[in-house]
């Protein structure tokens, strides 16, 4: 077994790919019987310090419909300098530059260790990165101050030649012109009027219709940079200017009367930002960074009216179809998001407010464009400040961990077709022979656009085995998939990363064990979860849960070992053993449960779930719990109420929160001040240990988690109690009769009950 685990791990490290099945069922019928689809989690830009990009361009298959990239799986005839495409079997001539190749003198792309390889393209003008700040000014004074400082700070983190722009909004929307000396100049737009891209560009003077007639020809080429430079300027040129400008930013001066929300024109502001970039820098890497401190309250995209007495929509309202503005607003933002995606720009949303800010409606902006979504209570918190700072962290090469305007092209060998993808991407609607008619996620295409991505951005890509049952694949045959990612590196180079992988086919009837052993339950859990969450966006919650349950039961029926109608006999092999537990926690997770979450929170959680890599996703599904005690080194413990013990300190990581929980006794000790006594220094250390570990996590994670330090009986302890498996509740506490652990006040079923039911259903012949 270790071999498969190693194999999986190695694959992930080298290629950033994890498949649900590492041995593939060789026919369509069998594949469907496997329940969990053949799919993979792909991290296209997985950091590979050991993989320097090669300085030339890839060699492509000459068949126009294929254009696969030369890779180690291709058969090469060194003598005739021909290579055969392993996807379409087209025989191709090597380009002249490859004249000298031989068995001993292979180009990198033919070496097996370069199953993933990155090419650097020298062609084409390099365009600078663009950062367009869209800043809400309807903030409290200290919030605005903090935000201003963060923004000013960020200027120093940007590459000097990056272009920056500034749009501020409140009741009005102001596009600041950064080029002018002296007087500061801005273009102002009404926050209530939706404008077309054309109008925006006209109004900003970005289109110069009649002018060319007058102006001399030579001026023409100059036009473009000049026009755009008014609003987007290289950081190094206007650094001081912009710093001052930000410093002088005032709160929105329009009076807000008692009982009203400030009028906030987020919809128009975004629309203008999108229009501005659309007109000036289409298909260039650009981030629109929206900083908002409350819900849009006027104009297109408004989420709630300005009357404070009418609260912003809740899940309850939405279920009752009582959210007046939701549909319209969502439509507005979706329209913006798709335009942005078409232009290759991405939109980040940094929403900091105690109440909801309309992320539900705006989520598509980040989701479809690969932008970030950050939710916090205030801009004046370390959560925001550090998260924001982390966006600009650099990798080992000193480059930003961000890439822009990527397209992901997936090629498969004939037995496979592409069913779809789930992640921060939009379809490019490229139909091809390898596109399946059945869609899972965003389907119907073999190419997707990912406008913004970072080394951890991960897509779930779903496939379909199309080989007919009666047309078996020759023994030892391998299926191959190639992922080609074109993107703009943060150093502004265009690059192409090519990952080609192959897996063995196996006949499920004869080789089920192989297939079973090659099951990657972690990947499968995440892939299934993504499907579930994807469905949850459009379907009713209970339906999704039912679907998940049914899939789980079917899987157990297929791969469990049991005697019919005997639930006690039910067993799952090691490679499946954790899967039901993941599903249990997934069912309880905020990705599928909206109870106790606002629509904004749900959107936020789902946003991150759909883009994080496998490890992080698993943490989200099933939080990690570490226990610290005097009895030994910290150890991971079951995410179970039985783990909550009086003499332990618990550290829980749910991805979004880091919770440190002091057991009852520990809390009392601390209260008594033992940690300050020299003779109890070990206690001090014990207290410190989880803090240090938490810091480590906090440092590394994006977005920075909410950090909660609580103790037994603390109100914040609810974060822990709501996550653990309620093995002890007020209902069964005495039945168990033990004093270990903490009872959870819930009616939710515990894992044990869940498993019992699962077994019962799996072994029953009814379904």
């Amino acid at each position: 077994m270790a071999t498969y685990l190693e194999f999986i791990q190695q694959n992930e490290e080298q290629d950033g790919v994890r498949f649900s099945w590492n041995v593939w069922p060789s026919s369509r019928l069998e594949a469907t019987r496997m329940v969990v689809p053949l799919a993979c989690l792909l991290t296209p830009l997985k950091e590979r310090p050991d993989l320097p990009p090669v300085q030339y361009e890839p060699v492509l298959c000459s068949r126009p419909t294929c254009k696969a990239v030369l890779n180690p799986l291709c058969q090469v005839d060194y003598r005739t300098k021909l290579w055969a495409c392993n996807f379409c079997f087209q025989r191709n001539q090597f380009p002249p530059a490859y004249g000298g190749i031989s068995e001993v003198n292979q180009p990198a792309e033919l070496m097996p260790q370069f199953s993933t390889i990155e090419y650097m393209i020298q062609r084409g003008a390099q365009s600078p990165l663009i950062f367009l700040y869209v800043v809400d000014t309807c903030l409290e004074e200290d919030d605005l101050q903090a935000l201003k400082e963060s923004l000013q700070m960020s200027l120093s983190l940007l590459p000097p030649d990056a272009l920056v722009g500034l749009i501020t909004f409140g009741r009005m929307v102001q596009v600041h012109e950064l080029s002018c000396e002296g007087i500061s100049k801005s273009y102002v737009f009404r926050g209530t009027k939706d404008l077309t891209a054309k109008q925006i560009q006209d109004m900003l003077g970005l289109t110069k219709p009649a002018m060319p007639m007058q102006q001399a020809r030579p001026a023409q080429p100059q036009e473009h940079p000049f026009v755009s430079s008014r609003f987007l300027q290289p950081v190094h040129k206007i650094d001081m200017n912009l710093t001052d400008l930000l410093g002088e930013l005032q709160r929105d001066p329009w009076p807000v009367t008692q009982g009203k929300r400030p009028l906030r024109s987020t919809g128009v502001a975004l629309s203008i930002a999108v229009g501005l970039l659309e007109g000036t820098f289409p298909n260039t890497g650009a981030r629109i960074m929206l900083f908002t401190g409350g819900p849009p309250t006027q104009g297109p995209g408004m989420v709630v009216g300005d009357e404070l007495k009418i609260p912003i929509r809740s899940w309850h309202d939405i279920e009752k179809d009582n959210a007046r503005f939701m549909k319209k607003a969502t439509k507005h933002y979706e329209m913006l998001a798709s335009r942005t995606a078409a232009n290759g720009h991405c939109i980040d949303i940094y929403a900091c407010a105690l109440d909801q800010t309309g992320l539900l409606e705006m989520k598509c902006c980040a989701n479809l464009t690969g932008g970030y979504m950050v939710m916090g209570d205030s801009f004046n918190t370390s959560l925001f400040k550090q998260t924001f700072q982390r966006i600009f962290t650099k990798d080992f090469n000193g480059d930003f961990r961000m890439a822009f305007g990527a397209t992901l092209d997936v090629k498969t060998s004939r037995e496979l077709k592409i069913a779809g993808a789930i992640g921060p991407c939009v379809s490019l609607n490229v139909k091809g022979p390898c596109v399946s008619e059945n869609e899972l996620g965003v389907g119907g295409t073999s190419q997707w656009k990912i406008c913004g991505l970072d080394p951890t951005s991960t897509l779930g890509i779903y496939f379909e085995v199309v080989n007919q049952h009666n047309a078996p694949i020759p023994q030892g045959g391998r299926g191959a998939i190639q992922f080609v990612t074109h993107y703009q590196h943060s150093s502004t180079q265009r690059r192409i990363r090519v990952t080609t992988i192959a897996r063995n086919w196996a006949d499920a009837q004869t080789q089920l064990r192989h297939i079973e052993a090659a099951f990657d339950q972690e990947a499968a859990a995440v892939l299934m979860a993504r499907l579930g969450v994807f469905r949850a966006e459009s379907e009713e919650g209970p339906d999704v849960l039912r679907w998940l349950d049914r899939q789980l039961i079917r899987l157990c029926q297929k791969f469990g070992q049991y005697n019919k109608e005997d639930s006690a006999s039910f067993r799952l092999s090691d490679s499946f053993s954790l899967y039901p537990q993941f599903m249990f926690h997934l069912r309880r997770s905020p990705f599928l449960q909206v109870f106790n979450n606002s629509p904004d929170e749900s959107s936020y959680y789902r946003h991150h779930f759909a883009r994080q890599d496998l490890t992080q996703s698993l943490i989200m599904i099933q939080p990690i719990l570490y226990s610290y005690s005097f009895h030994g080194p910290p150890e991971p413990v079951l995410l179970d109420s039985s783990s909550i013990l009086a003499d332990r300190i618990l550290l829980m990581d749910t991805f979004f929160q880091i919770v440190i929980y002091l057991g009852e006794t520990i809390a009392q000790w601390r209260k008594a001040g033992y940690q300050d006594m020299p003779e109890y220094e070990n206690f001090k250390h014990l207290l410190q240990a989880p803090l240090d570990d938490a810091q480590e996590i906090l440092q590394a994670r994006f977005p920075m988690p909410r950090y909660i330090n609580t103790e037994h009986g603390g109100s914040q302890a609810r974060f822990l109690l709501s996550k653990v498996n309620p093995s002890q509740t007020h209902n069964n506490l005495y039945a168990w009769g033990q004093e270990t652990g903490a009872p959870i006040l819930t009616d939710d079923v515990s894992l044990q009950v869940f498993m019992d039911h699962l077994k019962k259903l799996a072994v029953s012949s009814a379904c």
Binding site: M172, Q174, E177, C180, G182, I183, S184, K185, S186, Y187, V188, F189, R190, K193, L195, D202, M203, L204, G205, Q214, E248, Q250, P253, W254, P255
Partner: protein, 1038 residues
């Protein structure tokens, strides 16, 4: 609205004949079809004239003789007294007789008066008696130069007074017998000689009791006769010479002398002005009497408010209303008042500093009649020991509010009569309470917003820089209340081309901030805080801004501009700041950029002289109309400085300024070195002007008549409330009255004009002007009490309003017809029976024909393609808000001989008539009409004067390319510049000086202003016109 005004008259006409126009004419205005008939009438006149010639004998002379005696008595009594205070009458008489001697006399009008004295002696004492009627007890009483005394007494006299007309006839007097014979004969001959004798002026005086004559009979026939030598014959014919070439007889005679003769023999405005000045100038005029006729606008005197509003505030076309509408209809004299509620009061009349007495009743607010809501005023009669009062307007008896109670004295007057301005004064102000405020909220101090067109041409010619520089100093002088340290007015700045740039000039900013609004389709205000600021606080930021603006757009090559959005923006800004205010817009081109209010060049000369000509005066789109309404609703006044280099459609652009009580300034083909001074003076003047904002005016009248039509920079949403976004000291509203019912001679006709407004410091106030007029059932009283200057003001405004809706031809005909009708009515009803051919003018209307001719010759009414459409629209708009003094000067420019300047005197030289015949090659003349100023230099002007004024050796060296005289230390120069200063001083517009050399091209322009001559672009000379009118009258009489 305006159209209705004219058209609607017919309905009113029945009750109130007095209106503007004779009934038949109404039809013409409203209905083009009728137009034919008037013209038809005109034509017949020609023939008539011919016939008249045949019957020459009867016309001119006859009436005078016989009537004179009777008339004199009556007339003299009636007229002179009214015009002049006690002493003057004598003069009149004297003057009236003057004619006799004139032949002997010298040419100068001035000499006249002196001569008159001598004449006096020679005159029959009887005459005097007659004239003054002292001898005849009854008559004099009626005259009651002091006036008001007994209305009844008047009635009797009126008849006789008519004779005043005769006065002109006075000339006739001597010849009375002759008249009988061949009326004109005797007078005529003398006339002839005189003309020969000298340049026009002198002889006329002599002949025609020139100025002093209170009433003139114009022997139409006179001049002609002279020509012919066959006196009478000429009489009839003469009138036509100008207008109708037809009359051969005249032609036969020596034509030249004729004309000169004519001019001198017909009433001279200069003489009328001079006479009034001589008799009333410098005196104290107390307004303690109902219906008394104030001095002419051209006469300087000190006015003392003793219960009626000063004529500076209100002037009426007549100070005696006819009692019935039938009478009014008969006379066709418009009953109107020209109200200038914020008129500047000269410092020597000022009691409170710069303002009126302020009455503050605290929270209870002004005391008002319960029924008609008239404000407490001297016309309220206290009764029942002071517990109640009867409203003078509606007669309602009201309780006196307890806080206001005061006992009455033995004559029924409150004991505090003299302590309370509202009881003893004609004009005063109330502090308004919350009830009088918008939304029941005290107003905020107003704001001024400066909006500068920064399109390419304005930057290029340096205008933007000029404005910015000037603003830096002129903002120091924002108007403020006397007691305040600094002005409460806030200022804001916008620049624009086809987009708008707002500026944040908040005091705590290091640099101003510019905010560009490009959404001109739906303009909005991008900022609230920091846009309107206190100048003192933000001075450094503002200066910073003004320094930068010219540079900021230096590279701009934007040619297109918007206009309506600019106004909209200003209005929205004021709305957002919740304050009234004024926009100063500096604009130079046709707004062709895509935006609301976009205009296209529609200057189509082909429309001139067609029924569609009116289109040129109408705005191109209704955007501006609704914009103006919005502006008024938010107290936003728009003042527009236009710098057009080509057609900019003033008719459209000027609409908002006009309807919002703003001012339109136009500097065509602006050139920095020539025109900047004029512009800067206007700008300074306009900013510093006394002004009230967000005003509503209501004119209340006593029972029997009411205000029916309003002209001026106003907007009316109903028939009674006159809304004005702002009203400044130069704006007048002309109000027309019509009868509802009979008026009583006892109670007279009372007018109360109340203006509710916001002061420059944001106080809400009511300004009240009260005026009492007489009523009479005698037409003669009516004619005696007329004021021609006000009449012309009314005629001009009503005609210019009608221009929007009716063909100009019709309007011109109506004006001519009405003039004729008014005079015919007088002739028929007031003048003693006389030969039909005699032209008899009431004393008070002596100059009506010449002024009317000037009005008709104004470029607005003159349909000539040579005249720029914009200029016509501009002048039309200008006149609509003019007060009486301004319109008088505008239509009849002041022409001063400079070469005869007495450098030791501080008074202005006596003006001469606006005719080329008064110019001389050796003379230098200064002409001013309130818009332009010309210095005309004869080819042989005295070199010492040229040296003195221009500091150059000779005529040839004079550079005419200047708009300011060089500051030479010479007394001539100083004197001349002082004179120009005095003329300029009282005028709302800065006049640009043009130097004109005789016989050089620019002289053509100058000639246009010699209004007694035949117009450059057509329009009859004074002489021709008077003949034409005469003919009309004959027609009517027949």
């Amino acid at each position: 609205m305006s159209q209705q005004g004219y058209v609607a008259t017919p309905p009113y006409s029945q009750p109130q004949p007095g209106i503007g126009l004779s009934p038949p004419h109404y039809g013409h205005y409203g209905d083009p079809s009728h137009t034919a008939s008037p013209t038809g009438m005109m034509k017949p006149a020609g023939p008539l004239g011919a016939t008249a010639t045949g019957a020459m004998l009867p016309p001119g002379p006859p009436p005078p003789g016989p009537h004179q005696f009777g008339q004199n008595g009556a007339h003299a009594a009636g007229h002179p007294p009214q015009r002049f205070s006690g002493p003057p009458p004598v003069n009149n008489v004297a003057s009236s007789y003057a004619p006799y001697q004139p032949s002997a006399q010298s040419s100068c009008p001035n000499s006249m008066s002196t001569s008159s004295v001598t004449q006096l002696g020679s005159q029959l004492s009887a005459m005097q008696i007659n004239s003054y009627g002292k001898s005849s007890g009854v008559a004099p009483a009626s005259q009651g130069p002091p006036g008001p005394l007994s209305v009844t007494s008047f009635q009797t006299p009126p008849r006789p007074p008519q004779p005043s007309i005769l006065q002109p006839g006075s000339q006739v007097l001597p010849p009375p017998p002759t008249k009988l014979n061949g009326p004109g004969a005797s007078p005529l001959p003398p006339a002839m000689y005189r003309p020969d004798g000298l340049a026009g002026p002198p002889p006329p005086n002599a002949q025609y009791q020139p100025p002093p004559l209170s009433g003139q009979t114009l022997g139409a026939g006179y001049p002609p006769q002279q020509a012919n030598s066959g006196p009478q014959m000429a009489g009839a014919q003469l009138s036509y010479p100008g207008g109708f070439p037809g009359s051969p007889a005249q032609m036969a005679g020596p034509p030249q002398p004729q004309k000169k003769l004519d001019l001198d023999s017909i009433p001279s405005p200069i003489q009328v002005i001079e006479n009034d000045r001589a008799s009333r100038g410098g005196q104290v005029y107390a307004t303690n009497t109902r219906g008394q006729i104030p001095p002419l606008v051209t006469t300087d005197c000190i006015i003392q408010d003793q219960g009626n509003a000063s004529p500076r505030f209100i002037r009426c076309t007549t100070y005696c209303f006819p009692c019935t509408s039938d009478m009014a209809k008969q006379a066709q004299i418009p009953l109107a008042a020209v109200i200038k509620p914020f008129a500047t009061i000269p410092s020597n009349e000022v009691r409170m500093i710069y303002s009126l007495y302020l009455v503050n009743h605290g929270e209870s607010g002004p005391v008002r009649c319960n029924r008609c809501k008239a404000y407490m005023c001297p016309f309220m009669q206290f009764i029942e020991g002071g517990r109640r009062y009867q409203c003078g307007f509606c007669n309602c008896v009201n309780d006196v509010p307890p806080f206001y109670f005061q006992h009455l004295d033995h004559i029924g007057r409150r004991l505090d009569h003299y302590e309370k301005p509202e009881l003893s004064l004609g004009s005063y102000e109330y502090v308004a309470t919350l009830d009088y405020c918008r939304k029941n909220k005290l107003p905020n101090p107003p704001a001024f917003i400066f909006m500068i067109d920064v399109s390419y041409s304005n930057i290029k010619n340096g205008l933007v820089k000029l404005i910015c520089e000037e603003l830096k100093t002129v903002l120091e002088k924002l108007p403020k209340e006397e007691q305040e340290e600094t002005s409460a007015i806030r200022v804001g700045f916008i620049t624009y081309n086809k987009v708008l740039h707002f500026f944040n000039v908040k005091s705590n900013l290091a640099q101003p901030q510019m905010m560009v609004v490009t959404d001109v389709g739906e303009v909005f205000v991008p900022l609230l805080d920091g846009f309107l600021v206190n100048y003192q606080e933000s001075q450094s930021v503002i200066h910073n801004l003004l320094d930068q603006i010219p540079d900021m757009f230096a590279d701009s090559n934007e040619n297109e501009t918007v206009f309506a959005p600019v106004i909209q923006a200003g209005m929205e800004a004021l709305k957002a700041a919740d304050c009234p205010g004024k926009l100063f817009i500096f604009h130079s081109s046709l707004p062709t950029a895509e935006a609301p209010g976009k205009l296209k060049n529609r200057d189509d000369k082909k429309l001139v002289n067609t029924d569609k000509e009116k289109i040129l005066f109408q705005p191109q789109t209704n955007v501006y109309d609704s914009l103006a309404k919005d502006c008024v609703a938010h107290g936003c006044s728009v003042t527009l400085f236009l710098f057009p280099s080509q057609y900019v459609d003033v008719a459209s652009l000027g609409l908002v300024p006009q309807l919002t009580g703003g001012t339109l300034y136009k500097y065509s083909n602006f050139q920095m070195h020539l025109d900047s001074q004029q512009f800067l003076n206007d700008l300074r003047n306009d900013i510093e002007k006394k002004i009230g904002f967000d005003a509503i005016m209501r004119v209340r009248t006593s029972t029997g008549f009411r205000a029916t039509d309003f002209f001026g920079g106003i907007l009316m949403n109903n028939t009674t409330d006159v809304e004005m976004a702002a009203i400044d000291c130069d704006k007048a509203v002309t109000v027309e009255f019509k009868h509802d019912d009979k008026l009583s001679e006892d109670s007279g006709a009372l007018i109360q004009c109340a203006v509710l407004y916001t002061t420059i410091s944001g106080q809400r106030r009511l300004r009240i002007h009260n005026l009492g007029l007489n009523c009479s059932s005698q037409l003669g009283d009516l004619y005696k009490s007329c004021e021609t200057d006000a009449l012309i003001n009314f005629f001009a405004k009503s005609a210019f309003k009608a221009v929007l809706h009716q063909p100009l031809k019709v309007i011109r005909e109506i004006l001519v017809n009405q003039t004729a009708h008014m005079l015919a009515c007088y002739r028929k009803n007031c003048a003693s029976p006389s030969a039909a051919s005699q032209l008899i003018l009431p004393d008070s209307m002596k100059v009506l024909p010449v002024y009317m001719n000037c009005l008709l010759k104004n470029c607005v009414l003159l349909s000539r393609p040579e005249i720029s459409t914009d200029e016509r629209a501009f002048q039309r708009q200008l006149v609509m808000t003019m007060g009486v003094a301004d319109s008088q000067l505008f239509f009849y420019p002041q022409l001063l001989p400079i070469h005869t300047l007495d450098v030791k005197s501080t008074t202005l030289p006596a003006a001469v008539r606006c005719s080329e015949s008064r110019l001389s090659e050796g003379g230098i003349f200064l002409l001013a009409n309130g818009l332009h100023m010309f210095l005309w230099l004869g080819v042989s002007s005295p070199p010492e004067l040229i040296q003195g004024i221009f500091n150059v050796p000779s005529f040839a060296h004079i550079n005419t390319d200047m708009t300011l005289l060089p500051e030479v230390g010479n007394p001539y120069s100083q004197q001349l510049r002082m004179i120009m200063g005095i003329i300029q001083q009282k005028r709302p517009y800065s006049m640009k000086l043009t130097i004109v050399k005789q016989r050089e091209q620019p002289e053509m322009v100058f000639r246009q202003f010699l209004v007694e001559d035949k117009g450059l672009y057509g329009g009859p000379s004074y002489v021709d016109f008077i003949c034409c009118v005469y003919k009309e009258i004959c027609q009517l009489l027949n």
